[in-house]
């Protein structure tokens, strides 16, 4: 198992896969978070009843397997609508909405955790809705939401392993390419698992640290 045909070149190939994993994750989490914040604020402002259609739409992304979301979106866009887009675009789009669906709930929870009397105080000092949101609600809601958000971002990073289904050469896909050539599946998979672990673990720990720190005050 330790005599391997793996070359530095192949390791670079894996690292490129890891880079693709991170790129897809970054784009999806970036767009998804922005959408999630917008949806979350809308959801909070409208209340449960008026935002029901939005809630239902977002809930779909949390209720069916990501793999099916990817296959369906790809089939729908390219085969039904006959629009030519790359697998990369489909992957980023689906993952972004998937992120937004979870992020929306995190944002709403964060806003709800800001005590009403603080918001009353800021409004009665003459601050506008936007100023209140930006200067009071956002900093306080962020403390509540950040640990869960970090968890979400890591979840999306791990789930991005599934975008192989739309032919995006991410970490797991590149690992399989090497497996096909080198035929050393276990060794390569352990390296692949290590890549994931090394990206995820420190960030997860940092999230746990933030949670601990902020829950004390």
């Amino acid at each position: 198992m330790f005599e391997t045909a793996l070359t530095t070149n192949d390791l670079l190939f894996l690292a490129r896969g890891a880079g693709m994993t991170l790129l897809v994750t970054a784009i999806a989490v970036g767009i998804g978070t922005i959408l999630g914040i917008i949806f979350g604020v809308v959801r909070y402002q409208l209340g449960a009843i008026w935002s029901a259609p939005l809630t239902f739409f977002l809930d779909i992304f949390r209720s069916i397997p990501l793999l099916i979301q990817l296959v369906l979106a790809n089939a729908f866009i390219t085969a039904v609508l006959k629009i030519k887009v790359s697998g990369f675009t489909v992957a980023c789009g689906v993952l972004a909405l998937y992120t937004a669906a979870y992020c929306c709930e995190i944002v709403r929870g964060g806003i709800e955790a800001v005590p009403a009397n603080l918001r009353r105080a800021s409004r009665s000092l003459g601050m506008s809705w936007g100023q209140d949101m930006w200067n009071i609600v956002m900093p306080l809601a962020t403390r509540v939401a950040l640990p869960s958000w970090i968890g979400l971002a890591l979840g999306v990073m791990k789930d991005s392993a599934l975008v192989y289904i739309v032919q995006v050469p991410e970490l797991l896909k590149n690992t399989q390419t090497l497996i096909t050539r080198l035929q050393e599946p276990l060794f390569l998979l352990i390296i692949c698992g290590l890549f994931y672990f090394l990206i995820s673990f420190p960030i997860a720990r940092f999230g746990g640290y933030l949670e601990k720190r902020w829950s004390n005050d």
Partner: protein, 221 residues
């Protein structure tokens, strides 16, 4: 509107097969939860035991389960253990892979829930003459399970969604496997997977709703 020939009839003809697949999916999710909860309780006890080795085992389990993709975990159960001559069928590879993942996440939830139960509860139980095990089993654990009930429901939904990863270990009888197989014959990708998506949606909603019902029955305090 679309320049695409939808062939819903052809896809809908496969509905009975897909529903059978859905039953397998539910079965795997339920079993993986049962196993996952059992292991999570053991891991939680390990982490509280004060024994360094046991705690390290439990912590590694939790960290690996939480920091690598589920797809990877399922693959490793099948081919990883296979490398040591332990042969696990696709069904059980998928089941154990999901159970491994469940156990890791649930153990973390249980730890959080335990923190929320005051120490006085154990004291009160011990001073009535209960053994440490009895105090944990009859007093602490029921309360812990209640606090962790919502996270457990979420994990159950994820378990359902994770069954879709069984294809990597040649699993064919679950909903995703059945759908992929039908797709490889007829290539009605959109129609088939749209139906599968609806079935998955119904299952997950049914779980969330029945969990709410169970919670209102179970936790009357």
């Amino acid at each position: 509107m679309f320049n695409y020939n939808f062939r819903w009839n052809q896809a809908l003809a496969s509905l009975p097969q897909m529903l059978e697949g859905a039953l397998v999916t539910i079965q795997i999710a339920l079993l993986s939860m049962a196993i996952g909860i059992g292991i999570a309780i053991i891991l939680t006890v390990f982490r509280l035991s004060g024994n360094k080795l046991l705690a390290a085992i439990a912590t590694s389990w939790v960290e690996i389960a939480r920091n690598t993709p589920a797809l990877f975990q399922i693959y490793m159960v099948h081919f990883g253990l296979g490398g040591f001559g332990i042969h696990i069928s696709p069904y059980f590879s998928l089941l154990f892979g999901i159970a491994f993942n469940n156990a890791g996440y649930l153990a973390e939830n249980f730890r959080g829930a335990l923190k929320a139960i005051p120490e006085t509860q154990t004291r009160a139980a011990r001073s009535l003459g209960m053994s440490a095990g009895q105090a944990f089993g009859h007093v602490v654990m029921p309360q812990m399970l209640r606090i962790a009930f919502l996270p457990m429901t979420n994990q159950m939904v994820w378990a359902i969604l994770m069954t879709s990863l069984g294809a990597v270990v040649a699993m064919t009888t679950d909903l995703f496997g059945v759908t992929s197989h039908l797709n490889s014959i007829s290539f009605r990708t959109f129609e088939l997977f749209a139906i599968a998506a609806v079935i998955f949606y119904v299952i997950t909603k049914a779980i969330t709703l029945s969990a709410r019902l169970v919670a209102s029955r179970l936790f009357r305090y």
